[in-house]
């Protein structure tokens, strides 16, 4: 049956800001879906609050709404767009929950909108634990045994039946409160007692523990005629107990016999049918007892998930794309397999390679956070790799993660430990356990001992042992024979690893020279869904050390675009956005765009995006081999390193030194901006002021510098992204502690010390430069106080308080910097404006995190323009070609341009300290946010209100506001607080603030600070008695005094999930937002509409200026 004819307009919901557990994989799936639906001739409207996504590019949908993902705002979009159907299964849990909410509150019925993909009943059956368990049992499959118990005695009886250890889950408690494992009767007695007390209904679920069992996932697809296929099986190396998002995983499953696998498949299909997901993808998780093969179903996601993205990239089967087609009525056999072009999508991919995924963590960003891996996901990103065997894929994945260790035997020296000690360490799941397993094996531990302690299947442990043995052979061989080197490469050893084992080979470069001389080079195989049974036309490649390469020759010149690797804090989806835009721009300009990246969550690694995709680690060795392979295939114009963040940037100089043309800004110019001494010369030459600063290698030097420039100072290591390790320091003692902590300070990597400008306005600028002309993309004014990392602070574009004099100064300074540094493409500059002096804080000659935000706010594709400049076009040509506006730039935004507010989204609620307390939520110069949202409206207040709604849920329209202000803010805050009181808010304030408010006629109640002890405001916030917090911080950060009070308040606000405003400007904005919300007149407007209006205004301005020139 072809597509249904009762749907002509589908609304798609995205997943909002990047948060832990919900990252850019939903940009990938949502983008695929929108493109497919549009290609089918349907009108597509889209809602997503995240501007850094490709899906919110105006070309992807017919009407794109960058609006908060709340039922209120989505209803406004539905009212404006009147779609026939809502597709909520491609935007993660956020979209699914929103779809359900709109069903429950009657909005879908009111506007005659149908949920397609999965209906509300199916979603509930999949998501409700008990309902789901009942379904599993009803089809004759097994689930962990459990009983709801009302007394300790019942709990004990249940445990006796299912066997210890058991899991205790108190009913209806929030966030897993009171849940845990009991290993014996005494422990259960105690925990069940507490659990019964914690539960509002005084019951606990006692469940059989499957901790340590083998964990598997199946990705399934179903069409409306009930055809089902299993797209991929995934095996977790980390056993049950570690969240699958935090586990090292492998596809396909490696340790199942056909009988076991087919049983799993049968159960999966039966569950999918019983839950009743009509069409589309779903993910089912299983646990298998390694002792007897007993298989239990753990849970299902009745939607496209993170694992679906991984499975799509792992197999070449585009789950989201096909899910979208199935949702509008196609059947699997009616859809063609993209890769073979001749066979249908109604089949199950078969792999002739192994895929390994490794998660990327960011514990270094959250000191004190419990690093143990549990059932709560903590990783911020992941890498995927492919090899022709497991060891090769593992080695590639390890070096893709860009952690200090990039494969066995690399990275910092590890403390001496015995095999027994190392085996004991394996009992606690932590990031990098495979490294510990390897050290244990090298120290003589048996495969059995390592498998038993870690829960890894012995097969995987033996694979690691195989690498250990090859490592030993490489280290100990009298000379490195071609056979041995080839064997090492076939098992995934990088040149760097070999160099670490053979110091006499003169490092990685020496190993490569030897390897090339011996002709030991990788070949490139193709991901084809069918293990070569049919010819594939899609050039989706991975490297391996095998015989035959499959890279096809080409005639068009190629440009390689290096991606940004795993998502991490400071380097995320924004860089992928720029890379994807570069691909599109270069294709337009007549090049073959070749993408190199290792992040499975991204749009850039969709085989549909670039002309050729190499799923490879972004290391020098791997990238150089791709360049060589492409050179053998046809002309290579060069490599673009400036769009993927720090990862490719760090490779630029070495690639150039190896004779690879590096396009755009030259590596030397990058160095001029990154190297402090070089940059000082840049500033001196351009005559631009900068905060006083110095460079130190030791504490005594640092102290002298700090004394000469005066505290407070900003300290940081050189060459970092996302403000890694950056702190504001107010005295010698903290400075000393900082230097002691910064272990990797070295002559190559000194510490930079800058004067910290208090109370300055921070400004971010993204600009393009071609050697002659500057196009200033946008000026962003930070709303947060200076000293907070630009990635974590809210900002507004166009700037709300800067006048044209300021803007002209900014433009002039930016042009001078770009010219002096030698930028050819994008540059990001951070300025601080204090007492009418514009200080240069830093300049980065590369695409920044704000490029997508600026591009969307101004309707100018900056990254596309940058890619075209990299291949030699000028800004004048780009203006003429319509890529850039004909005249003007981001400094002369039309007066009627909308205001865009970017707000950061922080992951603090994901982390707990070892003893279960919330981690410090201090914002600092070190970036901690995982994602961002955009609020877009005609005026600042409303735009700000939208940004808050999108980031934290809506601003309150009534209730209680708590206010605690720094002295300097008290005067200016009186009016907005009074306004809130007039609107009917109850005002709570700390004593000092209350005094000022009362004198100004604002009624308020005094409440204690955190340091005042019991009955304080923190308790009130946590008890849900406060709806909004206004707290402007002051004083030096530290462990006492007013600053600490502020942090405690902020932590509580984050925990309670209420808006927390930290600046007077922010409060003024929030008050405007509250007023707009109360009036109920906040509207929604599509990006296409806004961009059309901008274009019209620009055309008018152009006509006016021409008319002026003529007269």
């Amino acid at each position: 049956m072809p597509k249904r004819d009762d749907i002509s307009h589908v609304m798609v919901i995205g997943s909002g800001p990047i948060v832990i557990g919900q990252a850019c994989e939903f940009d990938y799936s949502g983008t695929q879906a929108c493109r497919v639906l549009k290609a089918e001739g349907l009108r597509v409207s889209l809602v997503n609050s995240n501007p850094a996504t490709i899906m919110t590019d105006p070309e992807v949908a017919d009407a794109t709404y960058i609006e908060p993902l709340t039922p209120e705002f989505v209803e406004k979009v539905i009212a404006a767009e009147r779609p026939d159907a809502l597709l909520a299964t491609l935007g993660g849990q956020t979209a699914l929950n929103l779809g359900l909410a709109l069903q429950e509150n009657g909005v879908l019925e009111k506007y005659g909108v149908r949920l397609i993909g999965a209906d509300a009943e199916a979603i509930n059956r999949g998501e409700d634990r008990q309902l789901f368990k009942d379904i599993v049992r009803s089809i004759g499959a097994d689930a962990p045994r459990s009983t709801v118990c009302g007394t300790v005695e019942e709990a004990l009886a249940t445990a006796a039946e299912v066997g210890y250890p058991v899991v205790i889950r108190p009913s209806f408690t929030m966030g897993g409160l009171g849940s845990g494992f009991a290993t014996d009767e005494a422990m259960l007695r105690r925990m069940a007692g507490h659990g019964l007390a914690d539960s509002p209904v005084h019951t606990v679920l006692i469940e059989e523990s499957v901790l340590g069992w083998k964990e598997y996932e199946l990705e399934l697809m179903r069409d409306h005629t009930d055809n089902v296929v299993v797209v991929c099986s995934i095996e977790n190396i980390d056993a049950m107990g570690v969240h699958t998002g935090d586990s090292v995983t492998v596809a396909p499953a490696m340790t199942l016999t056909d009988r076991e696998y087919q049983h799993m498949r049968d159960v999966g299909i039966a569950v999918l049918r019983a839950v009743g997901v009509d069409t589309g993808g779903c993910n089912i998780q299983f646990a298998v007892n390694p002792e007897n093969g007993r298989l239990v179903v753990i849970e299902m996601n009745p939607r496209v998930s993170r694992s679906s993205a991984l499975a799509s990239k792992a197999t070449g089967f585009p789950i989201a794309k096909i899910a979208a087609k199935l949702a509008i009525g196609y059947t699997l056999d009616e859809i063609t397999n993209d890769i073979t072009k001749v066979t249908p999508a109604a089949f199950e991919p078969t792999l002739d390679y192994v895929v390994v995924k490794i998660p990327r963590f960011a514990f270094e960003k959250f000191p004190g956070a419990d690093p143990r891996l549990t059932t709560t996901m903590k990783s911020v990103g992941e890498v995927m790799s492919m090899g022709r065997n497991f060891t090769e894929a593992l080695g590639k994945a390890m070096r893709s993660t860009e952690t200090p260790q990039v494969g066995f035997w690399t990275g910092p020296a590890q403390p001496e430990a015995t095999a027994e000690e190392l085996v004991e360490q394996l009992r606690t799941p932590l990031d990098g356990r495979l490294y510990v397993a390897e050290r244990a094996l090298a120290a003589g531990a048996t495969v059995e001992a390592v498998a038993e302690a870690s829960g890894f299947d012995p097969w995987f442990v033996d694979q690691v042992l195989q690498v250990t043995e090859i490592g030993a052979a490489v280290r100990e061989a009298p000379s490195l024979t071609p056979e041995l080197l080839r064997r090492a490469k076939r098992h995934g050893l990088s040149d760097r690893q070999v160099a670490a084992l053979r110091p006499e080979l003169a490092g990685e470069d020496g190993v490569r020279t030897l390897r090339w001389r011996l002709g030991i080079r990788p070949v490139y195989k193709t991901v084809d869904t069918c293990a070569a049974e049919f010819a594939a036309t899609t050039p989706y490649h991975y490297s391996t050390y095998d015989e035959e390469t499959e890279v096809a020759p080409r005639t068009k010149p190629a440009v390689l675009i290096l991606g940004s690797g795993p998502n991490r804090i400071g380097q995320g989806i924004e860089f992928d956005y720029s890379c994807v835009h570069a691909v599109l721009a270069l294709q337009d300009a007549g090049y073959e765009a070749v993408m190199v990246n290792c992040n499975p969550e991204t749009v850039s690694t969709d085989y549909d995006t670039a002309d050729r995709l190499y799923f490879e680690p972004l290391t020098f060795e791997d990238v150089l081999e791709v360049v060589e392979a492409e050179r053998a295939a046809g002309p290579v114009a060069g490599v673009i390193c400036t769009l993927g963040g720090q990862t490719p940037l760090a490779l630029a100089q070495r690639l150039k030194d190896a004779g690879v043309p590096v396009l755009g800004t030259a590596p030397e110019a990058i160095d001029a901006a990154e190297d402090r001494a070089e940059f000082s010369r840049v500033l001196a030459d351009t005559g631009l002021p900068a905060p006083k600063h110095g460079t130190a290698f030791r504490f005594d030097e640092a102290r002298e510098i700090a004394a000469s420039i005066g505290y407070p100072v900003l300290v940081r290591p050189s060459y970092v992204l996302g403000g890694r390790g950056m702190e504001i320091v107010y005295e010698d003692a903290t400075l000393e502690a900082y230097l002691a902590k910064a272990t990797d300070v070295s002559p190559d990597h000194p510490v930079l010390i800058d004067r910290f400008l208090e109370d300055a306005v921070e400004i971010d600028v993204d600009a393009l430069y071609d050697g002659t002309d500057l196009y200033l993309g946008g000026v962003m004014e930070h709303i947060e106080e200076a000293g907070i990392h630009s990635g974590d602070s809210a900002c507004a574009l166009p700037p709300i308080t800067l006048g044209s004099t300021d803007l002209h100064a900014i433009r002039a300074a930016t042009q001078k910097l770009a010219a002096r540094i030698g930028v050819r493409g994008l540059m990001n500059v951070q300025y601080a404006l204090k007492d009418d002096v514009l200080y240069v804080l830093e300049a980065n000659p590369r695409a920044s995190r704000t490029v997508p935000f600026v591009s969307k706010a101004t309707a100018v594709p900056l990254a596309k323009a940058a890619a075209r400049i990299a291949v030699g076009e000028t800004i004048a040509q780009l203006r003429a070609a319509g890529v850039l506006p004909a005249t003007g730039d981001g400094t002369d935004t039309p007066d009627d341009a909308p205001i865009a507010v970017k707000e950061a989204v922080l992951p603090f609620n994901r982390f707990r300290t070892i003893d279960g307390m919330g981690v410090d939520t201090v914002l600092s110069p070190e970036m901690k946010s995982t994602g961002e949202v955009m609020g877009l409206d005609a005026e600042f207040g409303t735009a700000f209100a939208k940004s808050q709604a999108a980031a934290y849920g809506s601003l309150p329209t009534e209730g209680t506001v708590f206010v605690s202000l720094a002295n300097r803010d008290k005067r200016s805050a009186v009016f907005p607080v009074k306004r809130l009181a007039d609107l009917g808010f109850t005002v709570l304030a700390t004593a000092g603030t209350a005094q000022v408010l009362r004198r100004n006629g604002v009624p308020c109640t005094v409440v204690g600070k955190y340091s005042d002890g019991p009955g304080n405001v923190v308790e009130a916030i946590l008890a849900g008695e406060v709806d909004m917090v206004v707290n402007t911080p002051f004083g030096a950060p530290g462990n006492s005094g007013p600053r600490l009070d502020g942090y405690e308040i902020r932590t509580a606000a984050v925990t309670a999930g209420i808006p927390c405003i930290t600046t007077v400007q922010g409060m003024a904005a929030a008050v405007q937002g509250v007023e707009s919300l109360r009036r109920g007149d906040i509207g929604v407007r599509s990006l296409q509409d806004l961009h059309a209006a901008l274009a019209a205004s620009r055309a008018e301005a152009l006509a006016a200026s021409r008319a002026g020139a003529l007269s």
Binding site: R259, G293, A346, D352
Partner: protein, 371 residues
């Protein structure tokens, strides 16, 4: 680890390491794309005289066990893998695959670029191949390969069939009795039937129609098996006798080809065959897609768009392979017989097509009702 050499009949050679038994072997090179079930594959009699190239790189991970054999021995003539497991891990494992190959005298090779080899076979078609751990000169091995017989025209069922008839009893109450012609039967088939209350009398490949019908079975089953269907006239004659008797008949794989020939349809050799666990088939009766296990190098030649007139009445193509529109099943409209080219018994492979055994039972039930 000792060296091994693989040479194809067109001269392409791959060097690798010895895996399994040492020696020299020659057979027809075919590739199988299944990611699980190597033990079932190796013991499937349909692979007799074939050298199987596994496209999945890791083979042997779960070792071998006493339950998953599909027949009394390993049948493949040779085995080509990329990365054999050094150490199996599975709760049912009782030994390593390497040892099992040695015990069965199966010469294998590991460490070769199996994807390159598969692409070669896909582009050039299935062909003869030799593997040796003794003859390491490519020309010398090629000479041995060229001297070996080709699969076309090979009558192999008699080489794999049971010597004596045997009975597989029904599980629980016996409802039906069938005679199964063992052209290379897998253990999974009588196991599936037994669960439906069917007692299976397995007879050697050369059993005549009279022998098949002697015990008065409710139906007759034609198994899978190796070789060229054009060379198995004895089986074709037996099937004609069963059709004449209007006894319910169900054939799979080789059995599908034999039924086709008995109906007067032709068979032909596919370029590189279908061997894998992911083959989509459209069941035209239910209009649904089944993911099936397949292992066939020959296929039946019949029109897809209409029923064919045969000496036994009309026959239509009931199943079609979605990858290449190959005939994957036949349904007689005027006699109680049907067959499929794929493996409803799976082992290895998905169980999507298992309901076909029920269809056979239903056919026998209907036939009883009529009688």
């Amino acid at each position: 680890m000792s060296e091994a050499l693989l040479v194809l009949e067109d001269g392409r050679a791959f060097r690798g390491e010895s895996y399994g038994a040492t020696g020299t072997t020659v057979g027809e090179a075919v590739f199988s794309t299944g990611m699980t079930g190597y033990q079932e594959t190796l013991t499937d009699p349909s692979y007799h005289r074939q050298v199987v190239v596994m496209t999945a790189p890791h083979i042997g991970n779960t070792g071998v066990n006493g339950e998953d054999d599909e027949s009394r021995r390993i049948w493949v003539a040779g085995f080509v893998v990329r990365d054999p497991a050094r150490r199996p891990a599975n709760w049912r494992s009782t030994g390593t695959l390497d040892d099992e190959l040695v015990a069965n005298g199966v010469v294998g090779i590991s460490g070769v670029d199996t994807r390159a080899l598969t692409r070669h076979l896909r582009d050039r078609g299935a062909m003869r191949v030799g593997i040796s751990t003794e003859v390491l000169d490519a020309d010398a091995l090629l000479a041995q390969v060229l001297a070996a017989p080709s699969m076309s025209g090979a009558d192999l069922a008699p080489e794999v069939t049971t010597e004596a008839a045997y009975v597989v009893p029904a599980v629980g109450e016996k409802k039906y009795t069938i005679a199964a012609l063992d052209l290379g039967i897998k253990a999974a088939t009588p196991r599936h039937l037994a669960e439906l209350g069917v007692e299976t009398h397995v007879l050697p490949a050369t059993a005549t129609a009279a022998e098949l019908l002697a015990a008065g079975p409710d139906g007759v089953f034609l198994s899978n098996g190796p070789g060229d269907p054009a060379a198995s006239d004895y089986a074709v004659d037996a099937v004609k006798g069963v059709l004449d008797a209007r006894r319910p008949l169900f054939g799979i794989c080789f059995g599908n080809q034999i039924l086709g020939r008995a109906l007067g349809l032709g068979t032909y050799k596919l370029p590189f065959g279908h061997r894998g666990l992911n083959q989509p088939v459209l069941d035209r009766v239910t209009d649904s897609v089944r993911v099936t296990s397949q292992n066939h190098g020959f296929a039946v030649d019949a029109p897809l768009d209409r029923a064919s007139d045969t000496p036994y009445g009309r026959v239509e193509v009931s199943h079609v392979g979605l990858n290449d529109q190959v005939v994957e099943g036949l349904r007689c409209l005027d006699v109680p017989a049907f067959s499929v080219q794929f493996h409803p018994e799976a082992a290895a492979g998905p169980h999507d097509a298992a309901p076909l055994f029920q269809r056979f039972v239903d056919l026998m039930e209907d036939n009883r009702a009529e009688a």
